[in-house]
């Protein structure tokens, strides 16, 4: 765990970080984001002591950073930066192995580690004797990642590693980094100014504005509940549509569907439909437990007006959970061709209803917001 306690940084009279306190969790992918000059990179460089705080303390696993030897500390951390991070006069192999060689790890071990790294980042061994200027941007950045991972550090710091890449390689590298992280569970601290990248990669996002930490939360909460106007504009209203997995059924459902109890008469139910202008009723018991749906069209003729609703309700219809994402919902709607889908909680109690129109309303929201 990396813990910042009331950390400030000033250059002369210019306060670039103001009283920052937060914790970066072990094994999580934390993204620091903000506009340029917001202090995110300064904060990152404090972790490996490239920059010293003017005030405040930083602890790594409870140890005060001030007491740690900076060279040892840095060698125990991976550090990846933009394309200039590789040394142009050294081959790929020399770049990757520079620290292991200084640490006097055996040649054999270094060689096998190097090959492992090349395999991990998906590059051919033949590239090992190339020079950085013979590599594509994406390859170069992969080598940068290999150099950071070869000493198997617990913490990896990444300073806008992908921002200079073309969109295709960027997406590919993001995917691979995610795969790596899912396997290795390092504590990754990643600086970017790209919100899409942050949402895609982060377990937690810390948003900085003008030297202050304005919001530190999981991506979903940042998208749905921006802490202030800055976050709202920074995240962008449409942003959530680029990650629809964060839109939940509960966000777009009708909270109070029209219901009835199973012992109500058909007559009563029809009247209620007419009054509420709906074509179906959700049948629940006294504890709100979902029992079925009563559709107007499936009711027989007037002879049955006195019978109970339970006789005509449909029981085996698809339902969704309120935590399900809009993606799963859309799939279900398309497959089942149903117009109404009840939303249940974990105890199978009815908590809402999705109708075709509510779905369309929600989906059209992004276009309407654009016009605002």
């Amino acid at each position: 765990m990396i813990e910042f306690k009331k950390v400030s940084k000033a250059y002369k009279n210019n306060l670039v970080l103001k009283d920052i306190s937060f914790q970066i969790e072990t094994g999580k992918f934390t993204v620091l984001i903000g506009e340029s000059g917001c202090g995110k990179t300064t904060l990152l460089k404090m972790i490996n002591k490239l920059i010293t705080p003017t005030k405040g303390d930083i602890f790594i696993d409870g140890k005060d950073l001030k007491t740690l030897d900076e060279i040892k500390l840095r060698r125990g951390m991976g550090y990846v930066i933009q394309q200039t991070g590789l040394f142009p006069h050294l081959t790929v192999r020399e770049n990757i192995t520079i620290i292991p060689k200084i640490l006097k790890i055996s040649e054999k071990q270094i060689e096998s580690d190097t090959l492992k790294m090349m395999d991990m980042i998906g590059l051919d061994e033949s590239l090992l004797d190339r020079y950085p200027n013979e590599l594509s941007g994406g390859q170069g950045q992969r080598i940068g990642i290999a150099r950071a991972f070869i000493t198997n550090p617990d913490i990896i710091l990444m300073d806008e590693p992908f921002s200079a890449l073309d969109p295709m390689s960027r997406v590919a590298l993001q995917d691979e980094l995610l795969k790596l992280q899912n396997r290795l569970h390092k504590t990754i601290v990643f600086v970017t100014h790209d919100m899409d990248e942050a949402i895609k990669l982060a377990d937690k996002i810390a948003i900085f504005d003008n030297g202050e930490l304005v919001q530190y939360d999981v991506p979903e909460n940042i998208l749905k509940h921006p802490a202030n106007d800055f976050v709202k504009t920074f995240v962008g209203k449409k942003r959530i549509w680029t990650s629809p997995k964060y839109i939940k059924v509960s966000d777009i459902m009708i909270d109070k569907p029209v219901t009835c109890f199973p012992n109500y008469t058909v007559f009563y139910c029809l009247n209620k439909m007419k009054m509420m202008k709906v074509d179906s009723l959700m049948v629940i018991d006294e504890n709100k437990k979902f029992l079925g749906v009563l559709y107007a069209e499936s009711l027989p003729d007037k002879s049955s007006l006195k019978k109970e609703a339970s006789e005509y309700m449909l029981k085996d219809i698809p339902t969704v959970k309120k935590e399900d994402s809009i993606v799963e919902l859309a799939k279900l709607v398309t497959e089942s061709r149903l117009s109404n889908i009840p939303v249940l909680d974990d105890d199978n109690n009815l908590c809402g209803l999705i109708t075709r129109s509510s779905l369309i309303m929600a989906l059209s929201q992004q276009f309407l917001e654009e016009e605002e």
Binding site: K45, I81, I98, R147
Partner: protein, 521 residues
């Protein structure tokens, strides 16, 4: 094809001077690398120092090399040491500047990346900064090395040896072949040095930075060839150094004989050396052709040299600062006693020749104005230009005193050092020059010497000057010099000078032959 003959005749000397030149140049460049690169690195780290140090090395660069050399002699004496120091001082600027620029040129991001992955300061310097800067540093060293070859020629002025010896004694004796024999090897050496450092420059450039125009395979192939060439050149330089290592015998009886930088002195220096060596068991170290009067005198004061032959008039007026007089005995006694008391130098008996100043004109000028004595010159002096040596202009007993006594008033005074003034005279750029009465060039160019009818010029009898301590140790030298002095008359010395200046013979040979002819060795 007299030039070829000259080369063949003197090839041993040329080769040994060439090797000496290589050695001096490599020592100087090597040392300036050892000094310049760390300074360059230092000022790239300590930014406060960069401007003062770069400024200082630029200032040094702007000082004329001769002035710097003259300035250094009182502190470090004569010979190879001051020459190497001057060349080092001149070589520093490009090396310091390129090192500084190179190291500063590496982006901060790169350095931060190196720090970020956990390299220490020294690891960043040696693994990142220097390897990336080496091509730039080498480019600076290359510039320094090539100019060092040229600069090193002036080492000959202060007895440091090298190809400058040929060039300057060639200029002095108006011997173009000798000049070329010094200048051509110096040019060739400059080209070799340029090629050599060019090779290193390419070899230290990271392969990755050479791949811009050609493929990696070609780079690697070229490198192999370059490495072979480099090894060959290094072996050759190594051989040069080995060949010049002399087995020095510390206990041997050795004295150093020297002389000023003109023909007569060269002959006297060689002659004295040969004569002493042949008649005693003393080993003589020769530092002939050392420099002007002041250079040689300060060298003997410092103990860099032990014995040379000076002229009474020079000692009396120039060193002891008396006004010139024509009383020979008084001049001799004064010089002898004051050199002993003031400088701890012994002045031996005066030799038989008097190499005093004279004015000389071309024979056609002499007949045109009917000139025989200096007084004859007075009515015409305002129409004539004189081109004396710098020393003659500055001396009490030189041009100013002469002009006063005779009432001379030349149209123009164009000071030209050494023998080029004879060329100026022959080209009619000037009509009068100063000359020494024993000067062989007077005969070579068929000049008329004007008689000093008012006895203005003080006596310039030659006297051996030796350090007292050396004379105490080798008292036999006094008798030898007394004996030799008897053979050196105005006529014999003029003949000797004539042989060297006009016939183009070697001072060494001429001196040796003279000793043999007179059964002195």
């Amino acid at each position: 094809m007299e030039f070829i003959d000259y080369i063949i005749q003197n090839h041993e000397q040329i080769i040994s001077l060439f090797l000496e030149h290589i050695e001096l140049t490599f020592i100087a460049v090597g040392l300036s690398i050892l000094i310049g690169v760390p300074i360059g690195i230092l000022i790239s780290y300590i930014k406060k120092l960069d401007k003062p140090i770069l400024g200082l090395s630029s200032v040094i660069q702007a000082v004329p090399s001769m002035a710097l050399l003259g300035f250094l002699i009182p502190f470090v004496g004569i010979g190879t040491v001051p020459a190497i120091i001057v060349v080092i001082l001149y070589s520093l600027l490009p090396i310091i500047k390129n090192t500084y620029t190179g190291i500063n040129g590496i982006s901060d991001t790169m350095i931060e990346s190196a720090r970020g992955i956990g390299l220490t300061k020294s690891q960043i310097l040696f693994k990142i900064q220097i390897p990336q800067t080496l091509p730039v540093i080498m480019a600076g060293i290359r510039i320094s090395a090539v100019s060092a070859v040229g600069l090193m020629t002036m080492s000959a002025f202060i007895g440091g040896g090298g190809l400058g010896y040929l060039i300057f004694s060639g200029i002095r004796t108006v011997n173009n072949y000798q000049i070329l024999a010094g200048a051509i090897p110096a040019c060739i050496l400059a080209l070799i040095v340029d090629y050599f450092f060019g090779l290193i420059e390419k070899l230290v450039t990271p392969v990755s930075l050479q791949m811009k125009e050609i493929s990696r395979e070609e780079v690697l192939k070229k490198r192999k060839k370059q490495k072979i060439m480099l090894v060959i050149i290094l072996l050759l330089v190594g051989l040069v150094f080995l060949s010049t290592i002399k087995v020095s015998d510390v206990n041997a009886k050795t004295i150093t004989v020297s002389g000023k930088d003109f023909t007569e002195q060269n002959i006297l220096c060689e002659m004295t050396a040969d004569y002493i060596e042949a008649n005693t068991d003393i080993k003589v170290n020769r530092k002939c052709n050392l420099g002007g009067a002041q250079v040689v005198f300060s060298a003997i004061q410092r103990g860099d040299i032990d014995l040379y032959i000076d002229y009474l008039g020079t000692d009396y007026t120039d060193i002891l600062k008396y006004s010139p007089i024509s009383d020979v005995n008084k001049v001799y006694e004064t010089v002898k006693s004051e050199f002993n008391s003031k400088y701890n130098l012994a002045v031996l008996n005066q030799m038989s020749f008097n190499n005093t100043y004279a004015l000389a004109v071309r024979s056609d000028t002499a007949s045109k104005y009917n000139l025989k004595t200096i007084s004859d010159l007075v009515p015409y002096s305002s129409q004539l230009k004189i081109s004396p040596t710098l020393e003659f202009v500055n001396r009490e007993d030189g041009l100013s005193g002469l002009s006063k006594v005779y009432g001379l008033n030349f149209a123009d005074v164009i000071a030209i050092d050494g023998s080029p003034r004879y060329t100026a005279l022959m080209n009619d750029n000037s009509q009068v020059i100063d000359a020494f009465t024993t000067d062989g060039l007077l005969q070579k160019f068929g000049l008329v010497v004007l008689e000093d009818d008012k006895n203005f010029f003080p006596p310039y009898y030659a006297v051996p000057v030796i350090r007292n301590s050396v004379l105490d140790e080798y008292p036999e030298i006094e008798e030898l010099m007394n004996n030799l002095g008897g053979y050196l008359t105005n006529e014999s010395v003029q003949a000797l000078n004539y042989k060297v200046d006009e016939l183009g013979e070697n001072p060494e040979t001429v001196a040796n032959e003279f000793l043999k002819e007179n059964d002195l060795i």
